[in-house]
């Protein structure tokens, strides 16, 4: 039986190895200068790149972080500092409920909320949808990290005459900073690969665009279109784009692990 559970673990790791190696084998050969610097060419033509999607991903995800991080971290601080009452319980429960919401549902919500009133698709609507997905997770991680800070630190700061807000921000939040940064990186990594919430908000764009009020291309949307399209050239680009997206997500995840390591290392 020990062998069996060992084998099952091996299978799970094997799946990961297979997926990553397929990405590298099928995608790496297409990663050239053109891929990163050119925009898509008309369907059926050879060549072209995904420069617009790379820039678009950075803008959409960056804007989502700009909206989501303050709300998420603020909510987490609230839960840790003042969250023992009824309001805290409600906020915590709602965060958990929203955490399990299917991303496609958030997508159509953002559509009714922003796209429909504005009359057109926009990168901004996509960023809001991603922020909605990011906030609940971020709130709970921040809360957990802030709660890990020993009480003695808070007592010491208060005893020295620090007001509560300074204690909270300069002592508590700063001590938990590495953990909060980890939560932020994990949150960004999680939404960077999202596609479903962007289908009806950022929509995708064949051209290079940096206007957040216009439709914008992202890597995930590009992969979806290219993977399900009929051309071999598209499939080749889809694998390359998937490799780039995977690399980005992995980099963020590893950075998150590194940030938390630093903290534990310093604690010892």
């Amino acid at each position: 039986m020990t062998g069996l559970v060992g084998l099952l673990s091996f299978l799970a790791v094997l799946a990961l190895v297979l997926i990553l190696s397929d990405l590298v084998m099928r995608g790496a050969s297409s990663l050239d200068w053109n891929f990163f610097t050119r925009n898509p060419v008309p369907a059926g033509e050879a060549g072209g790149g995904v420069a617009n999607a790379i820039v678009g991903t950075a803008i959409v995800v960056g804007l989502a972080a700009l909206i989501g991080l303050p709300i998420g971290i603020g909510t987490g601080l609230y839960l840790a500092e003042y969250g023992s009452g009824r309001v805290g319980w409600i906020v915590r429960f709602v965060a958990d409920v929203l955490n399990g919401t299917p991303s496609i549902v958030v997508g159509i919500f953002a559509w009714t909320w922003l796209v429909k009133p504005m009359g057109h698709f926009s990168a901004l609507a996509g960023s809001v949808a991603l922020a909605v997905l990011m906030v609940p997770m971020l709130a709970r991680t921040t809360e957990e990290m802030v709660r890990l800070v020993p009480h003695s630190l808070r007592e010491a700061a208060l005893a020295l005459g620090y007001p509560r807000w300074r204690t909270s921000l300069r002592v508590i939040a700063r001590t938990a900073l590495a953990g909060i940064v980890t939560g932020c990186l994990v949150g960004i990594a999680r939404v960077a690969g999202e596609t479903a919430p962007l289908l009806f908000t950022a929509l995708g764009n064949l051209n290079f665009s940096t206007s957040i009020l216009q439709p914008m291309q992202t890597l995930s949307l590009q992969i979806y279109v290219y993977a399900t399209g009929p051309f071999d050239e598209w499939h080749r680009l889809a694998w390359a784009a998937a490799l780039v997206l995977m690399g980005l997500v992995l980099l963020l995840s590893l950075a998150a692990r590194w940030a938390i390591r630093q903290r534990h290392g310093a604690a010892r």
């Binding site: 958990d96 807000w165 993977a227």
Partner: protein
Amino acid sequence: MTTVPLEPVAAPEPRWQALRGTNVADRLYRGVLTALALTLPLLLIALVSELAVSAWPAIRHFGFSFLWTSVWDPVAGIFGAAPMIFGTLASSLLALVIAVPLALGVSIYLTEFAPKWLRQPVAFLVELLAAIPSVVYGLWGIYVLIPFLRTVVVPPLRAAFGWTPFLSGVFYGNSLLAGSVILAIMIVPYIAAVSREVLLAVPVSQREAALGMGATRWEAVWTAVVPYGRAGLIGAVILGLGRALGETMAVTMLIGNRHDIGLSVLQPAYTMAAAIANEFSEATTDLYLSALFEVGLILFVVTVVVNALARLLIWRVARGTAVGSRAL
């Protein structure tokens, strides 16, 4: 705050003001944090009401028959969601059948049997499966998994069980089977991570008692550790179910997207999330759009109920400690 000391012994200094929280800046700080925190409940209310309002025309038009009729005809304006509800349940349950033994095996191996040096790296690698974007799973599924199923898995399966209705029909690739297998791979990291934390929360005395009575290590795990954490393990499985129900991109790319209820896993099917992803931008009439919103509303309600159930079960095992909270 529980940390405020109670009896100030002759301390008339104004510094105590700060401790009591009467400071203006303190109140401002608390106000800002509260406002930020309250955006979450407001968001939930906005989300539910937007969905409900948008779905209302369809709800009024079709009533409960929306749930069990299977005609989906946008031209005639007749909508019944039974095929996609069936497809969502079927693909998620089939995914669980594949994923649960795998994930439980991983968590048991990592908590009970694996050499110490192997535990962290393997746990990390399995959790990395959760970091792969859905659309990348979809891409991999189309070009690697489906050919693999077609050449290696399906022929022997059909040779052995081809007479059952579950494997009838021609296998073209995009099917309930392909969608379920990719879902299974996607939910393994979630179930494994939570089960692992549940098993770690089982007291060592449980194992020692079983071993002391002469049980082998495997018997100790199976008779003392797993039953102790049963509620939490079921919670982990239900959490995986919640993930599977709402998963969109990979399933949309693999399941075939056909409005059909069939027993054969080799045939195309449909899920609620896939229907929204595929048809939302093509919904030309108001009723069509409203029907898709109703699908979204049903999906939302179902995932909320499933997730709440999972959370309660996980909490029961280790009350007070945040078991599984990192993976949730």
